[in-house]
Symmetry: C2
Subunit: 127 residues, 2 copies
């Protein structure tokens, strides 16, 4: 298998799972994307999530997500400038990944609860 | 949303995605699980994967995967003792997560290739 692998264009290998994990493989990034699916857009909204992400980690992950094309950053206020964030199509297309994690997590951690947005819409529902 | 969250039984929150990421949220763990789906069972087989996992990281992740019930470790040789690994049902049930990552990765990293097992069976095929 390894003979067929060309690392030229890839951080670690040409495996699509490896490429995905190069961006998403940590404990926080997919939780920020979960929050974006739930309708959160602003820094303080991400900070309010129950996992209590550290501010430096949140800033780092948002910067990386924007650089990699998962989110769009837009200023919603000047002086001081404040930004909000929304998923790009590349980010939106991660929905099946989150849904698969939710389905698996509900089976193996049965007392978990699927988070809802302000509109009380589960992440697996049609938007 | 945060008001409804009870952290009692969980590392970070009762979100099934967070619980999944508590075990799977790094750059390597899902690649080891990918390799197990591809038929790899022994230490040197994981080491031979193109991402070139470091031996200490592999040992750490296999230990954690066994402790969390994702893999079974069995001795296949004595003096010196050598182990092989296979997925439990909990690990096998991650297949939709890997398939979703493969599907997404193939779209956004179009020159990636889906790895095949020794039997040339793609990860998304029936086994």
């Amino acid at each position: 298998m390894a003979d067929a692998v060309n690392k030229t264009d890839f951080e670690r290998s040409c495996c699509p799972i490896a490429c995905a994990l190069d961006h998403l493989g940590d404990k926080w990034t997919l939780l920020i994307i979960r929050d974006l699916f739930l309708g959160k857009r602003r820094y303080h909204e991400f900070m309010a999530s129950p996992e209590r992400i550290a501010t430096n980690i949140l800033a780092d992950r948002l910067k990386k997500l924007e650089a990699a094309g998962f989110v769009l950053q837009q200023a919603y206020q000047q002086k001081p400038v404040r930004y909000d964030y929304q998923l790009t199509q590349k980010g939106e297309d991660l929905r099946p990944v989150l849904e698969a994690l939710v389905a698996w997590g509900k089976v193996y951690y049965s007392s978990t609860q699927v988070f809802s947005s302000h509109q009380q819409q589960p992440i697996s529902a049609e938007r």
